[in-house]
């Protein structure tokens, strides 16, 4: 293809530019100590570049585990900023400190014995009513969750609302570190999500039906057949199996129902 040749040159030039950029160092302050690191690195990679071997404060490196909650300030700015070290790229002269762990109160409960009554949640976490609606939690959330709104929902007994608003929570604890009322929001949300998932959303009836059919041994014979099948037979069955179309709706049904 002609594009192959065309694309080569701009890419090469760009690579060269990139290398020059990569060579450019920027000062950052890790817990107050100055290091020069290449621009464009995430805070986590910058710390490793500086020589840190991370034991705490490093997890999935993909923004979902909450291990690397980080706070920072920039010179001349009173405002405390928050970020995940694996997500945020360094900025010149930022002062960085990680908060890999923050003590937080977590209630103990027997989940099987809980209902969806809001009073039970209130009883487990009475401190939620200490919330003064200052919104510091929301400002501290690296996930952009409306933390305070979710707490308000919970206070009003709206477990579903709290569960849905907090769904992206990675439990890094930054909200808790900033809370005036000393709430551990993320533990409360965890409880709300579990109650919502198990007690408020309707159970999948088709799932229970399938479990029953499996337990009755309905598929044992089919599976035994497959286990005994030679590789060639299996390949044939595999290739001939009917494939549900990508765009099929929930009501799609296969023609061959022998193995259902």
């Amino acid at each position: 293809m002609s594009t192959k040749k065309k694309s080569k040159n701009p890419a090469k030039t760009a690579v060269k530019e990139k290398r020059q950029i990569a060579a450019k160092l920027t000062p950052i302050y890790i817990m107050g100590k100055r290091y020069e690191v290449p621009e464009g690195l995430t805070i986590m990679k910058a710390m490793e570049y500086a020589g840190y071997i991370l034991i705490r404060g490093c997890g999935c490196r993909g923004g979902t585990c909450g291990a690397c909650g980080t706070v920072y300030r920039k010179p001349g700015d009173y405002k405390l900023q928050v970020a995940l070290a694996c997500q945020k790229t360094v900025e010149p002269d930022m002062y960085i400190a990680q908060i890999p762990f923050f003590p937080a109160n977590r209630a103990l409960y027997d989940f099987a014995g809980l209902t969806a009554a809001p009073e039970e949640v209130f009883k487990l976490y009475p401190e939620m009513f200490r919330c003064v609606a200052c919104n510091s939690c929301t400002k501290a959330c690296p996930q952009g969750i409306e933390v305070m709104d979710a707490i308000s929902a919970l206070k009003q007994g709206n477990i579903a609302g709290a569960a849905q608003l907090s769904f992206d929570c990675i439990q890094c604890g930054l909200c808790t570190s900033r809370c005036f009322g000393e709430l551990a929001q993320y533990h409360m949300f965890q409880l709300a999500r579990r109650i919502y998932g198990a007690r408020i959303v309707p159970r999948a009836e088709h799932l229970a039906e399938m479990v029953k059919a499996v337990n009755e041994g309905k598929y044992d014979r089919f599976l035994d057949e497959l286990k005994r099948a030679k590789e060639d037979e299996l390949k044939k069955l595999y290739q001939e199996r009917e494939v549900e179309p990508m765009t099929a709706g929930e009501d799609w049904k296969p023609k061959d129902t022998r193995y259902l």
Binding site: A11, Y49, G51, I53, L108, V214, P254
Partner: protein
């Protein structure tokens, strides 16, 4: 200076995608699919897969699978010494005593701990990082189970698993898996996992690569995180489950009767080695992406360094299917900050096209992962990849199609995790496509076990990514999350029963470590390497040169 959030460099390439998009959307609407490859074509395509590069592997010279050819990075760890001198460990001084010791803190480990506890065992979880720091937390796509009787059954799930694994999988393990998957899903539902559902409670489901029925269930695009945090929360409520964080196991301990009876733990913060004695042990340490096999980028967690493989192998457990490693077809190539990150297969399941530099389709989006990855690599080798300013190449994943196909806002709501990550970098993936390339994702094989999670070592059970057999030579999407649930539960139950009925106690020993050292010596392996690795090393060479007290490979002093 930018086009849809990407540097100007990409403008002409993105425009090509936009030009071909309307016609491609029409085809999707008419259900016109790009043809699937035949089994023969798939086989031929695999020569482009990294697993098939002979120079990427070598024979291992010691241990129960001596002569097996696997990636150099694995062999390096297996042809390495223990971190401790076995004679120096005082096994008479026991620091922790428990019924069941669970090594690892991810999905399989936590689920195993829950079920062991329900079966009456005192459980100790020893994990390297925090409880829940694991690949499970990062799994996005979903979890497979055949649960709609009118169109699906374990029969079809079985066929799909086998087809994905090139028909090499262990049939007993697969049968147990597909049969117990529905019950496992129901168990998660009862724990309060927020599955994406229709208003009447029916589970939403979709295709994954290599599935013949839509049986991939999900919790938006944070399925693994939702499952992990739920089971972890449950474990925290159980008074007979104790957790030791930042305390990886570095050796298994046996008893005088040849049963597995504990482990040497290492407190990474105080640098102490501690003895944990148990009546049964469950090894669930996960995968190995951080070994960066063949230099590939990875989607894996920081702790994915194959520790369990090393521990089990030294204690005599053979390897199974470790010659294959899964490269997820769609890892981010650009922007550089998120290089290697997983883009869930669900983007393709929902109808995003994969495109070359000309904005043309060249593969069906739902081939099994190894075939799909091999095809991407071939397209780029053929010169049809999209170049980047960082010197890498990739192919487009046309996410904006989803808003057109399923209604405005689909990307934003169904893929909220990914949307946010890109949004932070100034790219709206409901408007601009994503640039992807295969990335090291999953350890298809591992320690050999059976459908009861038993190994050749009595008292040692294994579950999850550290095992081999279920997925054969290639895992399908959605089967790893189900793997950890089904086999985590089985391992937990069986370990608790073993602890109660079969454990013999007696004196503890590390004799197996000594004989392994002897075998290394006899095989002429002279090395400073120690294993398990515990943490990957991202220190720059310049800094490393000055770290004079770091006396061996690996990161711990």
């Amino acid at each position: 200076m930018s086009y849809l959030g990407y540097p100007d460099f990409f403008e002409p390439y993105i425009k090509k995608v936009e030009q071909t998009r309307p016609a491609r959307v029409e085809k999707r609407k008419k259900e016109e699919e790009f043809p699937f490859m035949s089994l023969q074509e798939r086989q031929d395509m695999l020569k482009y897969h990294p697993d098939y590069k002979e120079e990427g592997r070598r024979e291992i010279k010691v241990g129960p699978s001596k002569g097996y050819r696997i990636a150099h990075e694995f062999v390096d760890l297996l042809e390495a010494k223990s971190r401790v001198d076995p004679d120096k460990v005082d096994l008479s001084n026991v620091d922790y005593e428990t019924d069941v010791l669970v090594i690892g803190g991810g999905g399989a480990a936590t689920i195993a701990a829950l079920i062991a506890e329900e079966n009456g065992a005192q459980v100790l979880i020893a994990t390297k990082l925090r409880h829940g720091d694991a690949n499970t937390m990062m799994a996005e796509g979903g979890i497979q189970a055949a649960v709609k009787r009118e169109k699906d059954s374990p029969y079809y799930h079985y066929l799909d698993v086998m087809g994905g694994g090139h028909f090499k999988n262990d049939p007993d393990i697969v049968a147990a898996f597909v049969k117990q998957a529905p019950d496992a899903l129901q168990w998660l539902e009862s724990l309060g996992v927020m599955f994406s559902k229709f208003p009447d409670g029916r589970l939403e489901a979709m295709h994954g690569g290599g599935t013949c029925r839509k049986r991939m269930h999900y919790c938006a695009d944070l399925s693994g995180m939702e499952i992990m945090r739920t089971v972890r929360d449950e474990a925290r409520n159980r008074k007979n489950i104790k957790v030791l964080e930042f305390s990886p196991a570095v050796e298994l301990i046996l008893n005088e009767h040849g049963q597995c009876a504990g482990a040497v733990l290492y407190n990474m913060e105080t640098e102490e080695y501690l003895v944990a004695r148990a009546k049964a042990v469950i090894l669930a340490t996960g995968g190995a992406g951080r070994l960066h096999i063949q230099g590939f980028i990875t989607t894996n967690h920081y702790g994915a360094t194959a520790d369990g493989i090393v521990l089990g192998y030294r204690a005599g457990v053979p390897l199974s299917f470790l010659h294959t490693v899964q490269y997820h077809p769609t890892g981010v190539v650009f922007p550089e900050q998120i290089e290697g990150w997983l883009i869930t297969e669900r983007f393709r399941s929902e109808g995003s096209d994969v495109l070359n530099v000309n904005g043309e389709k060249f593969v069906n989006e739902r081939e099994p992962r190894d075939v799909e990855s091999a095809r991407f690599i071939k397209e780029c080798l053929d010169g049809n990849g999209v170049p980047t300013p960082t010197g890498k190449v990739g192919v487009w994943l046309d996410s904006p199609m989803l808003d057109i196909l399923h209604g405005e806002g689909r990307v934003r709501t169904a893929f909220v995790g990914k949307w946010k990550v890109y949004d932070r970098l100034g790219i709206d993936i409901s408007k601009a496509p994503m640039l992807v390339y295969p990335t090291l994702h999953y350890q298809n094989g591992g320690l050999k076990d059976n459908a009861e999670c038993e190994t050749v070592l009595p008292g040692l059970y294994v579950a999850g990514e550290v095992t081999g057999g279920l997925h054969g030579e290639n895992r399908l999407m959605g089967n790893s999350l189900m793997d950890i649930v089904v086999f985590g539960r089985i391992a937990g139950r069986n370990a608790a029963i073993f602890a109660r009925e079969k454990a013999k106690g007696g004196e503890l020993t590390l004799k197996h470590v000594k004989s392994y050292h002897k075998e290394l010596k006899e095989a002429g392996i002279v090395t400073d390497r120690v294993a398990p690795m515990l943490l990957p090393d991202y220190t720059t060479p310049e800094v490393k040169e000055k770290q004079l007290t770091v006396s061996y490979l690996g990161t711990m002093r």
